[in-house]
Amino acid sequence: MTNAVAAVRPARKKFKITKRVFSYPYVLFMLLFVVLPLVMILVNAFLDSDNNLTLENFKIFFTEKSSLIVLGNSVFVGLVTTLICLLIGYPVAYFLSKMSSGKVLVLFFVLPMWVNFLIRTLATKAIFLAMDVTLGMGTVVFGMVYNYLPFMILPLHTTLSSIDRSYIEAAQDLGADSSTVFLKTILPLSVSGIISGITMVFIPTISTFAISQLLSNGKIFLFGDSIQMKFDQGLYGVGSIMSIVMLVFVLVSNFLMNRVGRNNNNMGRSLW
């Protein structure tokens, strides 16, 4: 990005349309809506309500028990959702990749994504209410899994269906029965898909909001929700701190996933 910015600077007498010119709108957009907000969050985190430099916000966040509980809850819900998505998504993706009509069937799993997630979640809530299900942790996790399952299935399906059949044949040829073929070749060869799926489910779930609020009638509060609340209450400082904490979580988990992916899979296929 710095390159692009530097390129704008030299005064030019003649305006020439080069490939670089086409990147300007994007660079401008990035500056306005990605870089600037991040800077603002960083600045806000060190300011109190009277715009004085302070570290008070950190103290408030890290000493307040309730906010740490919310963070713990978020991570817990994220882990559970990711695990359930993996447990459901892997077999689904595996069988779809084996079927000749698999590509079409995958569409059915992706189809709900075309409906706005708020509408979907509200509809889910209506169904739960109609069925007299008590809203709580169970319904929240259900809503999460329902919303994020496609993000698990898609990368897994892509990876599984790109595994060359000859690897499976080679394993069979060397004496592996079908379960050994799965454990020794298909599973290790699909690690990159698993990593992608986990990243694509875990990171959004820990930062999500609205789903938990709607599907628990406001009983369960996740990190995303509480950030939203802090900003609603005008507590920009604490809200910013929480956003930074969230960002650190996302970056760390992304980093860890990449590490695992690199160690386990020499092919270097990643959907990220």
């Binding site: 080679a170 069979q172 004496g175 060869l189």
Partner: protein, 519 residues
């Protein structure tokens, strides 16, 4: 213990409407190096995959060491495969790739008596140390001792090839299947690997079944070559026999360069082609039977036109240096000949040609006329391959008829739309003065066509036939409306290596009386 390690019995594999392999029967002896040879799409790889167990035959049997393994899953078969693109596991290093099979294997470990007093066979897995010593030995065999820890993606094509061979051989299979293993290597490397594979075959003494489309590779390496085309085995014989006595024009054209001409057998030991009469060593043909003559370029001797041995004079069309010989193209009575000679000849000069009687290879024509069993569409119109063709014939609609069309009366059009029916060019063989093409219609009838042009294999073309050139005859039909069984039965291909052995009086079991391959 039977002599044959693998027996294929009437093996057929059908994909949809297409037969990939048709009624293939083949015996592979213990310790033999057998090559399945043919152009792409001839069914050689499918045959190999059926032996490995990756494909189920539609019909037929596979016997391994006297046991029927037709339905045995691949992991229980005592064969190992070297795959075309190696299929080395990318998530494992070289050592673990090779150890993959060993880690899964169980070996007998003595017996014990159970409570009922019965003897029970015990099995155990290989120990780590055993695996290591076996893998190290395998790595040593393929000259990759220090590569055990490397990941396969960091190896060159030739090294991957060696790992693939080591991975298969380390399991000590009774039969090693190789599916075009050298296809991805460059020429120099391929030559080296050919020699190495031959050495391994000699040292290990196990059976190799090798698939290739490279005729030179097949001739160099094999004990026995199986030539296939369109799923049908054309000839099974030793490399020498395949080269010297090809069973038909296809084999002759596929194996090495040769001049293929149409001729007529005048009498025993006397054949006429290219406007001259030649002596030959063949007999037993019908008088004036049309035949194919095959002349290998190195058998065609170029002499001075006045030499008394000269049978036919020819004009030199071109002479091209090929490294260790000149390839001389000659024209005699409008027939093209190709000769290999150590000397060069001036273009346009006249020379004499001589062929030893023994070097003339005479073959029955696989077909002398296109024949189709069909029925009349209307008066003066007949169905051929689903479309109506005009003809000169008074039979009423629905009459079962036999239609015959001469090779040179079939007209191929460049544009599929211009023809009455569409077809695909399957092969094109130069016969000295014209090309003999085989074009396959969409309902799998093969038309033999003589044309002046060389048609590209795989091209779509149209077929037209002039009405007066369609010969229509009434056909006998039995009460059920079914055609009487025609005498065109399945081709009988016999293993000529067995036959040879029988002639020598040493061994051999099956000797069929029909030597020639007839389609």
């Amino acid at each position: 213990m039977s002599e044959n390690i693998i027996e294929l019995k009437n093996l057929t594999k059908t994909y949809g409407a297409k037969d990939a392999v048709k009624n293939a029967s083949l015996n592979i002896k213990r310790g033999e190096f057998v090559t399945l040879l043919g152009p792409s799409g001839c069914g050689k790889t499918t045959t190999l995959r059926m032996i490995a167990g990756f494909e189920m035959p539609t019909s037929g049997q596979i016997i391994f060491d006297g046991e029927d393994i037709t339905t045995t899953p691949p992991h229980l078969r005592k064969v190992n495969t070297v795959f075309q693109r190696y299929a080395l596991f990318p998530h494992l290093n070289v050592f673990n790739n090779i150890a993959f099979g060993l880690k899964l294997k169980t070996i007998p470990a003595g017996t014990k008596t159970n409570r009922k007093g019965e003897e029970v066979q015990l099995f155990r897995k290989y120990t780590k140390a055993e695996i290591k010593s076996k893998v190290d030995a395998a790595l040593k065999m393929v000259d990759l001792e220090d590569y055990g820890h490397r990941y396969v993606s960091s190896l060159s094509g030739g090294q991957q090839q060696r790992v693939a061979i080591a991975r298969a051989l380390v399991n000590e299979p009774e039969v090693l299947l190789l599916d075009e293993p050298l296809g991805a290597l460059d020429l120099k490397m391929r030559k080296d690997m050919q020699l190495e594979l031959m050495n391994m075959h000699k040292q290990l003494g196990i059976t190799f079944v090798y698939v290739t489309h490279d005729q030179e590779e097949a001739l160099t390496m094999s004990d026995k070559i199986v030539v296939m085309r369109d799923g049908v085995i054309q000839q099974i014989a030793t490399p020498e026999k395949i080269y010297d006595e090809p069973a038909n024009a296809f084999v002759a054209d596929f194996i090495g360069e040769s001049t293929i001409l149409s001729g007529v057998m005048l009498a025993d030991y006397k054949v006429e082609f290219a406007g001259a009469i030649f002596e030959c060593v063949d007999k037993g043909f019908k008088k004036n039977e049309p035949i194919d003559v095959i002349i290998r370029p190195e058998d065609l001797k170029i002499l001075s036109p006045d030499d008394k041995k000269t049978i036919i004079t020819a004009e030199v069309i071109s002479s091209v240096f090929k490294g260790d010989h000149y390839q001389v193209t000659l024209m005699a009575n409008e027939n093209e000949f190709i000769a290999h000679d150590t000397a060069t000849y001036e273009t346009g000069s006249t020379v004499g040609l001589y062929i030893k009687p023994f070097d003339l290879h005479i073959m029955h024509k696989s077909r002398v006329i296109n024949e189709i069993d069909t029925e009349m569409a209307a008066e003066n119109s007949v169905y051929i391959c689903g479309e109506k063709f005009e003809c000169v014939c008074p039979f009423e609609a629905g009459t079962p008829v036999k239609v015959s069309v001469d090779f040179d009366d079939v007209i191929i059009t460049d544009d599929e739309e211009d023809g009455t029916i569409g077809a695909t060019v399957v092969s094109s063989i130069y016969k000295g003065s014209y090309y003999q093409c085989i074009v396959r219609t969409d309902d799998y009838y093969d038309f033999f066509v003589d044309t002046d042009d060389d048609w590209l294999k795989g091209d779509r073309v149209g077929i037209n036939i002039a009405p007066e050139k369609i010969i229509v005859e009434k056909r006998e039909v039995n009460a059920d409306g079914e055609a009487l069984p025609s005498e065109q039965a399945q081709p009988v291909v016999i293993d000529q290596t067995v036959e040879e052995a029988a002639e020598n009086g040493t061994e051999g079991t099956a000797v069929a009386d029909d030597k020639e391959v007839q389609e």
